[in-house]
């Protein structure tokens, strides 16, 4: 009896392992292919699409970066970093406010922010773009950064508010008894406490903005202002009937964009997972 059960289980287990592995292969292999292709010369790729890049070459990266993609990479770093830092600072302050300050309609307001966080932005792109247009911020870095903060701040506020609400109130109370002002309580008690939450929110926000295409495409239209996703999208479109020759260079551009998220995930695996899961579990 015992033997039979064990045997049946292990057969089922084998099937399950095969299915799970096949799905894992489907998510890993395209990125392996991308990396191999980026490391091949164009000729090598045309003759040998699936094989290893032997010998590996970096010439595709040189070609990609020496075009406008190098500048685009820098633009992405600037705008995404600025957006992330502002989201973390403003989100931390507002989250502190929701958790420790008292004002009317607080619960309703936080609920509205949560709903705004969930609702899709993509269907409202034309009227959102009009705001930037009306403010005269088209083709400016502040315009894109303002948009980026607008995209990520609802999640930032909500995440920090839930974080601070879970903080034992006594920590803040004791500082109050010492006569500290609200701002000092924030700076000397709340901010040091929230350091792990900063990393979670920061990496999560950075990833989201690093991958953003649609607003960057609208706001930063001149070539020297493009962000990396825009450069990739346009590189692809500029070649209407793409020959295989360009594929290796495009793959290098894709790897430039994907490398940073992968690196962040290696470094901050736990925090990113926490950030992704944050909305669902409490």
């Amino acid at each position: 009896m015992y033997r039979r059960r064990r045997k049946r289980l292990s057969l089922g287990k084998l099937v399950v392992i095969i299915v799970c592995s096949a799905i894992a292969a489907s998510t890993i292999y395209p990125f392996v292919f991308m990396t191999f292709t980026a490391l091949k010369t164009s000729d090598d790729y045309v003759g040998n699409k699936l094989g290893l890049p032997i010998p590996p070459t970096l010439e595709n990266f040189v070609t990609a970066v020496s075009g406008t993609m190098g500048i685009s990479f820098v633009n992405s770093v600037i705008t995404v970093s600025a957006g992330t830092i502002l989201t973390v600072i403003l989100g931390c302050m507002a989250g502190f406010g929701f958790a420790f300050l008292r004002f009317p309609f607080r619960a309703v307001l936080l609920r509205i922010i949560m709903i705004i966080m969930i609702l899709p932005v993509t269907v409202l792109i034309p009227p959102i773009f009009k705001v930037i247009l009306d403010l005269g911020l088209v083709n400016t870095y502040p315009g894109l950064v303002l948009l980026y903060v607008g995209l990520t701040i609802p999640a930032g506020v909500y995440m920090m508010a839930t974080f601070f609400m879970a903080v034992p109130k006594e920590l803040v109370e004791s500082a109050r008894i010492d006569g500290a002002s609200t701002f000092r309580v924030f700076r000397e008690v709340a901010v040091p406490l929230a350091r792990p939450a900063f990393i979670t929110l920061g990496t999560f926000t950075f990833l989201g903005l690093w991958n953003e295409l649609l607003f960057a495409l609208l706001v930063m239209s001149s070539p020297e202002q493009r962000t990396l996703p825009v450069a990739i999208a346009l590189l692809r479109q500029s070649v209407q009937n793409p020959t295989l020759v360009q594929d290796a260079i495009i793959a290098a551009g894709l790897l430039l964009s994907a490398a940073l998220p992968f690196l962040l995930f290696v470094l901050f695996n736990r925090q990113i997972t926490q950030g992704l899961v944050a909305g669902a579990l409490k």
């Binding site: 990125f31 403003l90 406010g97 619960a107 899709p120 269907v123 609200t182």
Partner: protein
């Protein structure tokens, strides 16, 4: 709730206006300018003719009547509908995978990392990568020909009947890992003794999944279902843009890409806004109804003891 009960006795009911403005002001200002104001302004623009350059001109319900008889919009809605048709797989798939890698397979953390890779990368990268992989002489066709299945090789990116399903597949492929993460996190907090009890009662794996796991992660299932519906309306746009520019024709234009193209490619941002606002309000109403039904969960508790800061 507890707010009124405890604070009635206090001298000072609310925090000072100065600290409220300092801490909440900047974030709320950005939210109002970028997220709330466009809804109201869009509500007005929906009733105007607007070319994106000159001031909008009021035209009443013209945009809405146009919407009702726009065959391209109908195609776009149908394309988004195709993604929604796959929603059951999109919800149940990650739940099954999470449950399976949690308890049956060694190396759960490896699988979680593998599945989440596409979530980390920009949809532009994914769309473009699949253009290369599925290209006429790309690696997939090369591989098919190489193993003698050349008859299956196809010009995937321009096949009108297939292209939308490929985009829908990419939408799911690039997000199911997030669902797996959510469900594994939820399953990890299920009381182990429930499984133990079911096992003693002789329940097999499927029975344990159905009678213990599924009810235990109900909250996350609801949340993930909401996310799936929202993503169906919002995450095909970039993939479709990068993969096939919504084409050939309108074969892979989803409704969000339709709005974007109407506004910025075909010069009808007023009409695009009307479509967008309508959709936004519909989704918003559904979401609020849903959240109220699911209210027992996710209610934030404010601790209002002591004097406010």
């Amino acid at each position: 709730m507890t707010t009124t009960v405890t604070s009635k006795r206090r001298l000072r009911k609310y925090s000072s206006l100065g600290s409220l403005a300092l801490f909440l002001g900047p974030a709320l200002l950005v939210i109002v300018v970028i997220r709330i104001w466009p809804v109201f302004q869009g509500g007005y623009i929906a009733f105007t003719r607007w070319d994106g350059i000159r001031d909008p001109v009021f035209i009443g319900f013209d945009n809405f009547t146009r919407m009702l008889s726009d065959p391209i919009l109908l195609t776009a809605l149908g394309n988004t509908g195709k993604i929604l048709l796959l929603a059951p797989i999109w919800v149940i798939g990650p739940m099954l995978l999470a449950s399976v890698i949690q308890e049956r397979v060694p190396g759960a953390s490896f699988f979680k990392i593998a599945y989440v890779l596409p979530v980390l990368v920009s949809p532009v990268v994914i769309g473009t990568l699949f253009v290369i992989i599925l290209g006429p002489n790309g690696p997939l066709n090369t591989a098919l020909r190489g193993i003698g299945l050349g008859s299956l090789a196809n010009n995937w990116t321009v096949d009108t009947n297939l292209v939308m399903w490929i985009v829908a597949g990419m939408v799911i492929w690039s997000s199911f890992g997030l669902g797996v993460l959510l469900f594994t996190a939820a399953l990890a907090s299920v009381d182990e003794s429930l499984y133990e009890a079911a096992r003693i009662d002789g329940a097999n794996w499927l029975q344990r999944f159905w009678h213990v796991s599924v009810p235990s992660v109900r909250g996350v299932t609801e949340y993930w279902t909401v996310m799936v519906v929202i993503m169906a309306f919002s995450s095909a746009i970039v993939l479709g843009y990068a993969f096939s520019q919504g084409g050939p024709g309108y074969a892979s234009t989803t409704v969000d890409l339709f709005i974007y193209n109407q506004a910025f490619r075909y010069g009808a941002p007023g009409y695009a806004t009307a479509v967008g606002i309508t959709l936004f309000l519909l989704i918003g109403i559904l979401l609020v109804i849903f959240l109220n039904l699911a209210r027992r969960r996710g209610e934030l508790m404010f601790d209002d003891s002591g004097t406010p800061l």
